[in-house]
């Protein structure tokens, strides 16, 4: 059973200077194996700082993190091992591409793990396939690709390390709707097929509502809500106060409810909403017919 436990985590940027900033305040969090978590929060709420702690890129000022029951700040802890198990895809990951061919760039991670050539090849092909790219681009220069392709190559570079947990910081920022849907579908597929834990940082309430099992809402360095999407979006008025919002369907459903339609306002996706509306309409229809017949 692999899991991440975050215990009383605190982080202060540039302590003792004019730039000092308390970025994370007493964060407590449990992330279970195989979960799909949506992490949302306003810019500067501490999301990015938190996820960089999870694979040891930033060391906490206070508090600790346990990965599979082991303290990652332990002196003998294998940090490189942790980084291969907890894959982190940064925002605009295509900005880190550096090799002359896609193959070389994607195999950078597995190579650093010291694997055998055969295993490196295998993982590279697999990773490129997982992000929905063909073998034909392996010999192309990553700088010749389109924006969406570059992003996939960069994500493949992290997938090639075969992480148990995949953290993605706004993987769809700056992509067109089609590219966005494709990437999110592939992530969902990865989660389904390979059973890896996903942590998706996003600004889009629609996206997290559609894919995530659990939402974590951050504000000013602390966790405000932690629960199922429909539980969190009930607080849509409070979410607005901290610069966020609920999915558009939540607003529609609440409005319908206020107008006297008996629909469940806690649904979060368009599909669920459609079902709810159909159900409510057929109910109204049958009850009306009953009245007529009586």
């Amino acid at each position: 059973m692999s899991s991440i436990i975050v215990d009383q985590l605190n982080y202060v940027y540039s302590p003792g200077t004019a730039y000092e900033k308390h970025a994370l305040k007493d964060i407590n969090l449990v992330i279970n194996d195989g979960e799909y978590i949506g992490l949302i929060g306003h810019t500067g709420s501490g999301k990015s700082t938190l996820i960089q702690h999870l694979n040891g890129l930033i060391k906490a000022t206070a508090g600790t993190i346990y990965y599979n029951g082991e303290d990652i700040y332990d002196k003998n802890y294998n940090m490189k091992g942790l980084r291969s198990k907890v894959g982190l895809v940064f925002q605009y990951p295509e900005h880190q591409l550096f090799e002359t061919t896609v193959y070389k760039d994607v195999s950078f991670g597995p190579k650093n793990l010291g694997l055998e050539q055969l295993e490196i090849d295998l993982r590279t092909y697999e990773a490129v396939k997982m992000v929905g790219l063909g073998d034909d681009i392996l010999d192309a220069s990553p700088f010749e690709l389109s924006g969406g392709q570059k992003r996939r190559v960069a994500i493949a570079g992290v997938l090639a390390m075969k992480p148990e947990v995949l953290i993605l910081d706004e993987p769809t920022a700056g992509l067109d709707p089609k590219g966005r849907d494709e990437i999110l579908e592939q992530i969902a597929k990865l989660h389904r097929d390979s059973k890896i834990t996903i942590i998706l940082v996003s600004h889009s309430m629609e996206d997290v509502a559609k894919y995530a099992d659990r939402l974590i809402v951050m504000n000013k360095g602390g966790i405000v809500y932690n629960g199922m999407p429909h539980e969190v979006f009930v607080h849509y008025k409070e979410l607005e106060k901290i610069g966020l919002a609920a999915p558009q369907v939540t607003y529609v459903m609440n409005e319908l409810n206020n107008m006297g339609f008996s629909v469940n306002p806690s649904v979060t996706t368009v599909e669920e909403a459609t079902e709810e509306v159909v159900r409510a309409l057929s109910q109204t229809y049958t009850s009306r017919r009953k009245i007529k017949n009586d």
Binding site: K80, R83, G87, L88, F90, H95, Q96, F108, G157
Partner: protein, 267 residues
Amino acid sequence: MIRDITIGQYYPADSILHRLDPRVKLAGTIIYIISLFMFHNYYGYILAVIFLFSMIQISKVPMKFIVKGLKAIIPLLLFAVIFNLFLTPGTLVFQLGFIKITEEGIKTTVFMGIRLVFLILGSSLMTFTTTPNHLTDGLERLMGPLRKIKVPVHEISMMMSIALRFIPILMEETDKIMKAQMARGADFESGGLIKRARSLIPLLVPLFVSAFRRANDLAMAMEARCYRGGEGRTKMKPLKYRTRDMLAYLVLIIYVAAIFLLNSYIA
């Protein structure tokens, strides 16, 4: 790691030194640096130390922050010190094989060390208390007369302000790329010289690419706003001397006078 480099950074604080006209600070820094090379005896350095430390006190920049900036020049400092110590000819003090240390060597080394350290401290105090924009404004005004001999003063200062503005951006970018590559198992810290140099490729390539991209974007944005160089360009906040600037000049004159006194009367 990369955030530890504080040279050239601005430190926001509310002090008289921060509010001074950048021209005064530039002139002061230049005079201070020249003065460091004019002293021939230790008394002069005592004066320079007192002057600098009182300025640091006035500036309200924490001492810790300033000293941190020195860390970056330690290799350079050691280099200069070692060469001076071993390669200056003169009266022999100590010899071990081919290593010779001379009296003159020790003296040059000490002077050199003090000069370098205070040169860095003095100039970083200026950047700590002056925003990049102010600094280049001041430079542009100070270099103004050079325009008569066809020196592109405005262009130079524009390039400087862009360069200064980009330092923190590129540092942040470096930090980000470094972390991203570390997340893919890159190791920047261990291994021999060649291995370490090679490990910089995954960092430097993306950094250059992004620098070019940013430069391109900036040029486009400037052109979109019809930037055509300095001809006929006016300032929203032109520099103006105030009483405090005159007082600061007075302090500088006293400092210069004190140097001359020290140099000519105390041998």
